[in-house]
Amino acid sequence: MRGPLITNHIRQLRSDHNDMTQQELADSVGVTRQTINAIELEKYSPSLEVAFKIAAVFKMPLEKVFQYRG
């Protein structure tokens, strides 16, 4: 069975940003903590809007945060 098509480094990036919590990231982006957790565990692929917002929080380009394994 194929894994998720969209992977990410959010957990690592949170850790690199003063151990930012999932709740802090969720509040910055405007989603629930459970949604951030689901994105990190690659159980949910966010919309483009949320993906851009997450990348903006880390001040990184989108492709450095999310990768597409097509």
Partner: protein, 144 residues
């Protein structure tokens, strides 16, 4: 477990319990006891509204309690993942409802009365709602 997931569990379990009680009574009224003995007069109408009232009261009380433990989550609007879960769960429930509605119409050919028809429709609405909430719980756990 998030507030939404707890809320969904509460509604799922309450729906299950409420209609198991109702349909177990309704079954005896509709079909009688297996030994052929007469069924004592049971007011299904009264029982139904009693269970609906109980359902509403328990839902309100439990949700107030749940919200008091996580007020921020309870007041937050659905985010995109939660909206997607709600949407994807409604789809299979709709198909259950659609097929069930046609089957209920089909019972007319069995010369059933309005009482049977109403209960077959009520039964299928119940199953469709269980499917909807059950699928939500599935997507909350497995991911969507």
């Amino acid at each position: 477990m998030s507030f939404r997931e707890k809320s969904t569990w509460v509604t799922f379990v309450l729906l299950l319990v409420m209609f198991v009680i109702y349909f177990s009574k309704a079954f005896f009224v509709l079909h009688g006891h297996s030994d052929g003995s007469p069924v004592p007069g049971v007011s299904l109408f009264g029982l139904f509204w009693l269970l609906v009232a109980g359902f509403v009261v328990v839902e309100i009380v439990v949700h107030i309690l749940l919200a008091s433990f996580s007020p921020k989550e309870a007041n937050a609007p659905l985010d995109e993942r939660e909206k997607l879960i709600a949407m994807k769960s409604t789809q299979p429930a709709f198909y259950v409802l659609l097929v069930g509605a046609f089957l209920s119409i089909g019972t007319i050919h069995l010369r059933t009365d309005a009482f049977h028809l109403a209960h077959s429709v009520l039964f299928i609405i119940w199953i469709a709602e269980l499917v909807r909430y059950g699928m939500q719980l599935f997507y909350f756990r497995r991911g969507v």
